[in-house]
Amino acid sequence: MATRLKPVDAVLVGFGWTAAIIGQELTDAGLQVVALERGNFRDTVPDFSPTQIQDELRYAVRKATFEEPDRETLTFRNSTSDTALPMRQLGSFLPGVGVGGAGVHWNGQNWRFMPTDFKMRSHSEQRYGKKFLPDDMTIQDWPLSYDDLEPYYDKWEYLCGISGKAGNLNGQIQEGGNPFEGPRKREFPLPPLKRSASAMKFDEAAKSIGLHPFPCPAGNASQPYTNTLGVKLGQCTYCGYCEWFGCANYSKASPQTTILPVLLRKDNFSYKTNATVTRVNMDSTGKKATGVTYVDAQGREFEQPAEMVILCAYSLHNVHLLLVSKIGKPYDAESNTGAVGKNYAYQMSAYVDVFFDEIINPFMGAGALGQVVDDFNGDNFDHGPHGFIGGAYISMWQTGGRPILQHYTPTDTPKWGGGFKKALKENYLRSASMQIHGGIMSYKQNHLDLDPTYRDIYGNPLMRLTFDFQKNDLDMEKYVTDRAVDIAKAVKGNRGYNVRARTGHYGIVEYQTTHNTGGAIIGDNPSNSVINKYCQSWDVPNLFVLGASAFPQNPGYNPTGTVGALTYFAADAITSRYLKNPGALV
């Protein structure tokens, strides 16, 4: 029997980036807000202290900051004709757990989607014709535009102290920035990070073949920064322990370093840890959420009543909660009807490792330290001759030179023994890797639903992921990988390169990227989507669903910047309109 708790104005499921943002905005509006986090509380000291964070075995190999599949997992199959089996170890993607969520362990690669990314279907059909898109491709336009989101991208970037160089200021193309980006109203809050040696080699090579390199916008502070809430970030020390690690120096934008110092001081905000939400509760009409039920670390069940329920969990968990709470119509891949679970998408990465004749000191790195070209991303090139849509950015990262996982050797190097050691010694200081970071479209067959067989420890059915790479995206990745090889060949003083291409079926075992999107997508009407443009459930107006589960398809960029901007957009609609007149926002 669940213990019924004191009602609150809003309950947040999860306590990562989206919960921190919405919690800050709603408490500013005077609401009583509680966040429920399945993991532990974490703060820079002691959890990410420089006394212990540089432990690659613990964090990168044994995955200390990620969710544990023996507690929460999903089942997976490549196609509807296969039987899905549980993912019993983390592999392809690594959802975060604990206060701060994945905002603790991200790299800080911070992007705005391009204007055409928001009009993926209409723009592609207009430019290439309706027949250009495969029949099973279910991409759709966002119900909002780049211009709608621009002020909120700005708000997010000034919260985080993003380090970068504008490429398009109010329509004027800027030297040194990304000429393909949408127009921004003002410069980045901080200048770009110092360039790495590998970035300079990439920059020179890319320019020599007519491309347009620029520094990746980084959530790693290039200088000390005081953000819009008065919270201070220290400057990045290029220690090389960003991705999969918490930042020891208050330099990487995370809920801990940007919002929590202010939010946790408020009397009208509270949070509970080790509180796993198992369902959203509904009233008898099925049109109103009454709160959530959660289970604590001792297995006790609690009911938290709330006027508003806001799902701020990882994208996959948002979708799972909707499905197990029977909110909305589950997507049926056969008939292409229903919406919950529809348009699951992912991203695709290939790599070209480059070996230099000079030392580049790879251990001096930062999560978003890298030089990028966007010439082959989105619709920045004519897809007509190629027969696919979408694209990828090509980046020369220098994220770090950790001893276990971050070193490159030529493909013919033995895996162990004297030959391996010799190659490692020769190449560790003289190599870096380019990433081909590609988007994935959505398709009828790639979707999420509930597994008929397997259940989690709370008795809920596991979510079932049905997903495979499709020809459009494999063709895209191959094309852009070839363009990365062009750059590798143009690098002066290169001693060779490896191509680690992405081909064949998707496998869930090898790590690729934690950019899982869709399943609770945003749209302009209830028949094609789960939430409206304000991230409000079509079926249950006092339920909001935040995060990358909203993306109708996955462009070639890392999602966090757009997740932040979309959350601010939703927060604005809630505080300025919904609270005055609770009900469906149109």
């Binding site: 703060d43 420089p50 000390p224 201070k232 970030l233 220290g234 001081r265």
Partner: protein, 405 residues
């Protein structure tokens, strides 16, 4: 629970109507904050002002008492006269002597009006029934009558007397520092009987394994070298471009000095910069600087000290404290610096400066010998002139910290 809160709110409203006018209550609240009453009179996670916080003293443990308006266990039945006698003379309502852990030697300097205002404010806080645990003092100090002897030796009742030769700022600052603020209670050396050593006020004191720094100008980098704005900023926000408040001062800033008005913080700074006993920089005790610090330098770089405090010791203005020119680093007694390295510390968080920046504990990673070498380097690098830190210095602080936890 909810019902009792409403009841208490109604009760305090009624009491408040009797207690005095709004301006007086507001002034009382301000003085209660300036006096940092909450720090001692609120137990960890306990109800505000309900006391029962254990105050460790060299003579045993004293428990702070309940100063909420609860008639049975708090000061609800106290008259203004009773309250004034406690603050002014250190005598409780029942006529018994209060232990000077309650800083009546400072509160005696408060004006009668201000004491009445404090009482008027305390009458408005939620009444909490909370019995104060009995003190755990070593015999014969359990005999409160002995305190009359202590008082005759070390205590003279009397309100603050302004100095007409000094500015209004100096006098306002002096009043706050010497009465409510009771700054010299921590920042002064004590004699064997726990009283401030005569003539040595503000020369630094020892408390809870932290040295409260000398405020008189004897320490290199001390507050006498800071500008009035820097001192005021430190008190009001917990940080300035030199340093951040850590250790017990973090709590003082959070509960007390961050609530001061800018004028009062500057007045306090004016007074502190004019304390007697100040020494010119040339006269300051400095240590021999010629020693091999290679190992300490390596430890400084290898243990990521430089990541925040920078290779050149400057820190990052307003974020990470500078070690170059730091008073804590250069104090003759290195105990605070050792304690910081061993245990780490969380800096004050205030509305103006919400970050809860923290230094991690290195005690589990570095040996006594490592910390001695590291601090010897830090105390002599970048023009610093602190003395050598020995392995035994570190050993003794480590032992004290371990036993007090």
């Amino acid at each position: 629970m909810k019902r009792s809160a409403i009841f208490l709110a109604v009760l305090s409203f009624v009491t408040c109507a009797h207690a005095g006018d709004f301006a007086q209550i507001e002034r009382g609240k301000y003085l209660v904050q300036a006096g940092d009453c909450e720090s001692c009179h609120t137990d960890k996670n306990g109800p505000r002002f309900a006391g029962a916080r254990a105050i460790p003293t060299p003579f045993g443990t004293i428990y702070s008492r309940n100063i909420t308006p609860d008639p049975a266990t708090g000061i609800g039945g106290w008259s203004d006269e009773d309250f004034y006698r406690a603050l002014h003379e250190g005598i409780s309502r029942d006529g018994s002597h209060l232990y000077p852990a309650f800083p009546y030697p400072w509160y005696t300097k408060l004006t009668r009006d201000d004491v009445n205002a404090i009482k008027a404010y305390l009458d408005t806080v939620d009444a909490v029934r909370e019995q104060t645990p009995p003190n755990k003092l070593h015999w014969p100090l359990t005999w409160r009558s002995l305190l009359s002897v202590w008082n005759s030796m070390f205590f003279k009742a009397g309100e603050w007397q302004p100095n007409p030769d000094k500015s209004a700022d100096w006098n306002r600052g002096g009043y706050l520092v010497e009465s409510a603020g009771h700054c010299s209670a921590c920042h002064s050396p004590k004699n064997l009987l726990g009283s401030v050593k005569k003539g040595d006020a503000f020369e630094g004191g020892d408390g809870e394994n932290w040295l409260a720094p000398d405020l008189t100008g004897r320490t290199l980098g001390g507050v006498s070298e800071w500008s009035i704005d820097e001192i005021a900023q430190f008190l009001r926000t917990g940080a300035n471009n030199r340093t951040r408040a850590t250790g017990p001062m973090a709590e003082v800033v959070e509960l007390s000095t961050s609530h001061l008005t800018d004028e009062d913080a500057k007045a306090i700074a004016t007074y502190l910069k004019d304390l007697p006993n100040g020494a010119s920089t040339a006269e300051k005790k400095t240590a021999d600087n010629s020693r091999d610090t290679t190992r300490g330098h390596d430890l400084y770089l290898d243990n990521n000290c430089a990541a925040c405090h920078m290779e050149n010791g400057t820190g990052e203005a307003g974020i990470f404290p500078a070690l170059k020119g730091s008073a804590i680093v250069q104090q003759p007694d290195p105990a605070t610096a050792i304690h910081l390295v061993l245990s780490g510390s969380r800096a004050a968080a205030t509305t103006a400066n919400p970050n809860r920046f923290a230094m991690p504990a290195f005690g589990g990673k570095l040996s006594d010998d490592d910390i001695a070498a590291l601090l010897t380097y830090v105390r002599s690098a970048w023009g610093n002139r602190g003395g050598v830190v020995s392995e035994s210095n570190v050993y003794s602080v480590r032992k004290q910290v371990a036993t007090s936890q």
